[in-house]
Subunit: 194 residues, 4 copies
DNA sequence: GATGAATGAGAATTCATTCAT
DNA sequence: TATGAATGAATTCTCATTCAT
C-alpha cells in the first residue's frame, strides 16, 4: 500500500535521486531530507543512521528487482530461456531506473566494508537465483557439469555486471537492452567460433 | 628518472600496505607518511595530493602488471593461448600480492568519481590488451565475428574481475590459479554442453 | 489544587528516578515521559519546559524536606538541640531517599546557571531555617556574637553538605546518621581540644 | 618556563576566561580557540577532547594553587597556624583570579560524572594537605581525637568551599579575605560561646 | 630537499518542543 | 486533556594540505 509509512518511501526515493545525482559522499543527510520534504531529524525516525538509508535503498530496490526477475523466470521452461529472461530483466529494470543504475553500479561500491557486507547479503539472494538456473541446467543436461557451478555463476554475473557498469560509465548513451541476445549467445556458446 | 627517487617508491609501497591493512577510508596521509618513514609534508614533494598517491599506486602497480602480461602473451601464438595466458598472469600476479589484490578489488572502488575516472583511464590500457587478443582471434577466424567485440571483452574482463573479487572477499582462502582452465574453457566454449 | 493531579506527581517521581539512575545529561524528556507512563507532549501540559521539571522536583522534594525539618525543630527548645535535630533530619531524610540524595548532591549541580539560581532560591528557605536557629542561639547568648552570623550559617551548611556529598560519592556505603553527633560536636565546640 | 609549549598555555588561559564568562555549556571549542588565537584544530594537538581542556585547566591551576599553599604552610609551626594560612591562601588565591573562582565553584561542577571523577582525583591532593594539618594537630594534642579526622576535614573543606561559593554567587562583591579570621575562629572553637 | 606544527572547512546526529488530531 | 510524529537548531572533531624553518 502506497500510504503505508509515506515518509519512509519519500526518503528512500529522495535518497536514490540525491545519491545518483551527487554521488554517495556528497549526499548529505540534510540534502536527502530536503529532497524528501521532511526535516533532518525525521530521517532518524525511520533510519538508524546515514548508512542505514543506503542499505535500505538497496534492500528495497533490490527486493523489487529480484521479485520481478523471479516472476518472469518462472514463466519460462528451460535454463537457457530463464537465463535469457534474467539478462533481459536485469537490463530492462536498470534501463528504466537510470538513477538506481548509477547507485548500484558506482555509488554503492564506495561504501565502507561493513556496509559492503550488508549489501552482499542482499545480493546473495540474486546470486541464488542465478545459481538455481545453473543447477536446473546441469540437472537437465544442458549446462556443462565439468566445471564448478560457482565459477559459471561468477561468469554470468560478472559479465552482466560489467556490461551494465560500462553502460553507466558511458552515461547510458546506448540502449542496453539491445545487447541481451549477444550476451546470452556469448555466455551460452562462448567466444569461440567452433 | 624522477620515479627512481627512493622516497617516491617508499611512499608507493607504504600506501599499498596501509590501504590494504586499514582500508581506504582509514588510510590517512599521516599514516602513509609514518609507514614510509617520511614527514607528512614530504608526501607533497612527490605527490600533488592524496588522490595522486592512490592513482600513482594504481598506475605503478598496474603498469608492471600489464607489462608482464604483455610479455607473457607475446610468447604465445594463437588468441586462445594468449587468452589463457592473460587469465593465468592475472590470477598469478594478484595471488602473489595479496595486499594489492585487496586494494584493486575493494578499496580503490570506494574512491570518489573523479578518481575512479583516472583509474579507468589506467585500466583502459589493460582492456586494450584484451581487445587486441580478441581482434587477433577475429582476424584469424577463431573468435566469433557476429557479436560486438566490445561485449566479448566485457565478458572476458567481467568474468575475470568477478572471480578475483569473490576470491578476495572469501579472504583469499583458496588457490585462485586452480580456476584458470575452467574460466578459459567457459569463456571459450560457453556454459552450454553443445 | 493543581498539584494534586495524579500525572503531575507521576512525572515528578519519574523525574527523580530517571535522573538518579541515568544522570542529569542522559535524562531526556522522553525518558521521563515513558517512566511516568505519559506521552512526551503531556509533560508540557504540566511543566513549562524541561528545566521546569527539574526545578519542580527540587521545589517539591525540598518543600517536604524543609517542612519536616521545621516540624521536628519546633519540638526542641534550645538552639543547640535544634541544630542537632536539623543535622539529624538532614541525614535521615536523604538516607531514606538515596535517589533524591544523588539528584541533589550531584546531578542538579550540573544544570545551567539560570537553573542553579532557581535552585538557590528554593535552597534559601532552608538556609533561613538555619539562620533562625543561629539567631535564636545568639539571642539566648548561646552562640557567639563576635562573628558574622552569615559565616556561621555557611559553616553549618557547608559542613553538612560536604559530609553528604562525600557519602554520596562513596556510593552511600556507610550509615550517614552515625555522624550526627560528631558533626554537631564539631560545629559546636570546634576542632580544638580546648 | 613561559616559552614552553606556548600554545598549550594560551589555550589553558583562554579556556579559563571563556568558561568563566560564558559558562561551561556555552563555551564552544571554537570560542576558546578564537580567544587563544589558534585554529580550532590546534586545540586537538594539545588536548584529547573538550573535556580534556577542562580537566587540564583544573589540574594546572589547582597544581599551582596547592603548591603555593604548601609552601606557605611549611613556614608555619603549629597546626592552628597552618590552618589559618591554608584558609588565607585559599581566599587570597581565588580572590586574585576571579575567573578561576567562577570556574572552580560553579562551572566545573556542571561536568559529567566521568569528568567529576578526574577532578576529584586532583582535588584529593588538596584534601590530603588538609588531612596532614589535622593529623599534625592530633599528634601534637591540639586537635580533638574523639572524632573521625575525616569528618573534621569535611568540616574544614566544606566550610571554606561554601564561603567561597557564596562569595562567587554574590558576584564577589565583598572582600573574601576579611573573613579569614572569623572562619578560622569558628572552625577552631566552634559556634558556641563557651 | 625535508620537516611537522598549524590550519580550518565540513557534516552527522540528538533531543526539547510543538501542534494537528 | 492527551497524544506522539515531526521538527530543526546547534556543535565537536578529523584530516588533507600548507609553509616557515
Amino acid at each position: 500500500m502506497i500510504k503505508e509509512r509515506p515518509k519512509y518511501r519519500q526518503i528512500i526515493e529522495a535518497a536514490v535521486e540525491v545519491i545518483a545525482e551527487n554521488g554517495y559522499h556528497a549526499s548529505q543527510v540534510s540534502k536527502i531530507a530536503k529532497r524528501a520534504n521532511v526535516a533532518d531529524g525525521t530521517i532518524y525516525l525511520y533510519f538508524k543512521n546515514k548508512e542505514d538509508i543506503l542499505i535500505s535503498v538497496f534492500r528495497e530496490k533490490m527486493g523489487m528487482f529480484i521479485e520481478k526477475t523471479i516472476e518472469a523466470i518462472n514463466e519460462k521452461e528451460t535454463a537457457s530461456e530463464k537465463l535469457l529472461t534474467l539478462i533481459e530483466m536485469h537490463y530492462n529494470q536498470l534501463s528504466e531506473s537510470p538513477h538506481l543504475a548509477i547507485v548500484t553500479q558506482l555509488e554503492l561500491r564506495q561504501s565502507k566494508p561493513e556496509l559492503r557486507k550488508e549489501i552482499n547479503r542482499v545480493l546473495k539472494t540474486y546470486l541464488n537465483v542465478i545459481d538455481s538456473i545453473i543447477d536446473q541446467g546441469i540437472k537437465e543436461n544442458d549446462i556443462r557439469n565439468d566445471v564448478n557451478p560457482k565459477i559459471i555463476r561468477q561468469m554470468v554475473f560478472g559479465t552482466i555486471d560489467e556490461t551494465v557498469t560500462s553502460w553507466v560509465m558511458k552515461s547510458q548513451r546506448y540502449p542496453l537492452v539491445e545487447q541481451v541476445n549477444a550476451v546470452h549467445q556469448l555466455l551460452t556458446y562462448g567466444l569461440f567460433k567452433k
